[in-house]
Every structure is written in structure tokens, then in C-alpha cells.
Symmetry: C2
Subunit: 254 residues, 2 copies
């Protein structure tokens, strides 16, 4: 009898988020699930690790055959704790999300959800992150289930290249047309800071902003497909090298 | 008369670190410098942004013609505050570091120093991060000056491709042979958690580990050159797409 795969589930919206409960629901038939997530939201934490404060880990018990652990760490801390402290062996897969809000285009760099998936890839584990394009805490995630299943079944069947992880974004509509594997669109956050004054008279700032698609005419990017009601899958690499830059073959002897 | 370039300096070891003072020293003749950094160390903060606590900004005045600002934010917050609140215009260059400790290979993903450089690239600004391969707070950074100058002069002269930022690592020796532009080596952190018990009887964990070069026989990686007393320059891209994965041309209609 073949053992079921061991699948680690995590996110950056915290253990109480609807998104992670929805991911557990979508993934429950694929293997033995272990969930590790934080006591609160760690959005925007990217690939951060906690080095200055101690990490706590709480066994939250088993519900419907799924084991739950809670930490005070970032999504990447969650993965590291799972690999080195919680699990008896490395998981076969790591699946992160479902994030409340888009992580398409260059948002992949800010996302804690995608940090967890990247950390999986850095450890040689096939890893995926899912995000739904709405920030509503009580959003309807049911349209995600089919996307999660189709994309994960493809990974089960075909695997992922070493060092590659998937950034999957899902439009918030019940009319999803399909799933497109595509490149990361060029885009940036257009930001400003709200300026306030605290009761002690000190100025303080809140970051605010909106995402801008810098390739509005491209028809092969995640941004394009999401706008056209497709789920987008960007295969991402842990190798940040821009190989083209090396063709200039610049070196200096000192 | 041509205006001097405006150069933003930041780091992740905090405003009082020797590394950032050394970077100011190395960069002072290249343009008008503005320094923005944090009140304490933000190592391991990657590309994190602060979304749950307010950011404060303190004008620390001018020393030797260089303007200093201090924040309570991450390195990426520092860049965003500088672009949107501190500076009258976008800087011509962003230079981050000099980090106390290596950011070679896959450490680029954890590094706050490199987060700041990536944030510059995301905003279309030629950006570089420098790291010295020692964690000594009082390390001798004088061997870095020539490397900083040669690499920055090359950027001044030739520019950087849009979306590309440089990850420069410098061996801790006074016998540096030269500077090699090269690819990011494959490597990972081999980690464990130190387990302790706090005075209230709760277990807690500290992350600890060491870096492992997964390509010990490669002769074209940053790891190889650093071991051989060269400074390494990896041109990194903000485009995380693994283009090879897309050749399979997988799509699903629903």
C-alpha cells in the first residue's frame, strides 16, 4: 500500500483566516495534512525570518484528521519550524495560502504567502502558493477549490523542477475561464504615506498605495490573464541571477 | 555645470553600524548622499514591509555634508519613506550595506540589505547591495572601499538594465585578487532550533544554522569566487519567472 503524501499547509494571514481553512478543504483528499500558521497576520513579511525574538510553538491538536500548530513566527519561520521541529520527516509538498489578496506580478517579493513557498523550494520541496484577488476576510473561496485541485494534480503528476515554486493567483469571480501558465508581469506599487500625529505630538506614517500594471498592452502576463478571468500560474525560480547581464563578461583584476 | 547624482544610502544593520559608516566613506565623492536607516538591526527582514505598526521618521541632521534620517522600519520601508517622504525627487542610485556578513548565493532572499536594493530596482532606480563576509561588529571595512568604488564606477559608466540590481559580496581579507561578475551559486541553510524553557515553563526556540554550498565543484559561482578571494557581483532580476518552465506550455480550460 502506498503511503499518502505528507503535505505541509501554511499561510501569512494567520491560523484563523478563512483562506487557510479553505485551502485545507481543497487539499484534504490529497494526503496527510499538517497545518502550521501564526497567531496573527504576517502579511507583507516576504521571506523574513525571526532572529531577535524567541519563537513559540503550540500544538493545537487534530481536527478532521488534520494536525494544527500555531506559532508567533513569520511564514518562513513556520516552514523552518515544521521542517526541523514539528515533522518527523520533510513533507512531500508545501502549499501556502489561500492568501486574502493578490500576489501577482512583483507582489511576489512582498508576500509572506509566497515567502513560505519559496522557502519550500529552497529546501528542495515542491511548493505552491495560492492567492485570491480580494481582501475581504469573509470572501467566498469556493471558486478556488477547482483551481487548487487542477494545479496540484498537475504537480503530483509532473512534479516541479528543482528550485521552482508556483505563484498561483485566482480572480474573484464565479466565471473563471481556465488556468494559464505564464510569466510575471512588470508592475509596481504606486505608494504614498498617510501622515498623522500621535497623542505625544510625534508625526507617524502609514504606508498606502495601489498596484500599477506597467505592461497594460501585454497579452502573456499574469496581470493580463487575471484581468480576463483566468487563474494565473507563474513558475518562479530561487535563482535570482539575471543571466543576460553576465554576457558582458565584466571582471576586474586588482 | 552638471549636478551631482543624488545617492540614497541604507542598510539592515541599523544607523549605528560600522558597515553603513564605511559605505558613506567609500561613496562620499560620488554625489550628494542621503542616509536613511533604522534605530536597530533589521537583519533577516528580506523584502518585508511594515503594515501593522506606524512608522516614525527622525531627521538626524547633517554630518560632513551627508543628511541622516532614522526610522523604525525595515530596509524596504526605509527606501519607501525616502522615495515618498524624505526626498524631493527620486535618487539616481540606491546603495545598501555594507552588510555585516555574507549575502551570497540564496541568502539574497533573506537579506534586508538586498531587500532595499531590490526595492530600488522595483522603482526603476539602479541599485546595489554590498556585504562583507564577517559578522564582527567592529570589522575592518577598509578593504571594501576599492571594491565599492570600482563596482559603482562601472554602474555610473554603463548603467544597469531595468529591473536588475547587484548583489556584491566581499571576502574578509586584505588580499582580494579582483572582482568577478558571476551567477548565484546553489546553496541552502542547514538549520536547527535551539530549544529552551522560559521562566514560565514554556518551550521556545532560536533559529541557528550554517550555509551549505550545494555546488562545491562549480567554478563559476559567487561561492567559488569568494572562496578564492575575489569579490563577487551577481546581477539579480526582479523577474522571478522561470522561463524554461513555460516551454511546456501547460494550460487548462475549465
Amino acid at each position: 500500500m502506498k503511503n499518502k503524501p505528507l503535505i505541509l499547509i501554511t499561510n501569512d494571514d494567520g491560523i484563523h483566516a478563512k483562506g487557510i481553512a479553505s485551502l485545507v478543504e481543497a487539499m484534504k483528499d490529497f494526503g496527510d495534512l499538517v497545518v502550521i500558521s501564526a497567531n496573527e497576520s504576517y502579511s507583507g513579511m516576504s521571506h523574513a525570518i525571526t532572529v531577535k525574538t524567541p519563537l513559540y510553538l503550540k500544538d493545537m491538536g487534530t481536527k478532521n484528521g488534520v494536525r494544527y500548530y500555531m506559532t508567533n513566527g513569520t511564514p518562513v519561520d513556520c516552514v523552518k519550524l515544521a521542517l526541523h521541529t514539528v515533522l518527523d520527516r520533510y513533507p512531500d509538498y508545501i502549499v501556502s495560502g489561500i492568501n486574502h489578496g493578490s500576489n501577482s506580478s512583483t507582489s511576489v517579493h512582498y508576500s509572506g504567502t509566497m515567502g513560505a513557498a519559496r522557502e519550500g523550494a529552497l529546501n528542495g520541496i515542491p511548493s505552491l502558493g495560492f492567492s485570491l484577488l480580494t481582501y475581504e476576510p469573509d470572501a467566498d473561496f469556493s471558486s478556488c477549490y477547482q483551481i487548487v485541485k487542477v494545479v496540484f494534480e498537475d504537480v503530483l503528476k509532473n512534479g516541479l523542477e528543482t528550485g521552482v515554486y508556483l505563484n498561483v493567483n485566482i480572480p474573484y469571480t464565479d466565471k473563471i475561464k481556465g488556468i494559464k501558465y505564464c510569466r510575471q508581469g512588470k508592475g509596481k506599487w504606486v505608494e504614498e504615506f498617510l501622515e498623522r500625529t500621535d497623542p505625544r505630538g510625534r508625526k507617524y506614517f502609514w504606508l498606502t498605495g495601489h498596484f500599477e500594471n506597467l505592461e497594460p498592452n501585454a497579452t502573456d502576463t499574469d496581470e493580463y490573464y487575471l484581468l480576463n478571468n483566468y487563474a494565473s500560474v507563474v513558475p518562479c525560480t530561487i535563482d535570482a541571477t539575471n543571466i543576460d547581464s553576465l554576457k558582458k563578461n565584466k571582471n576586474y583584476e586588482l
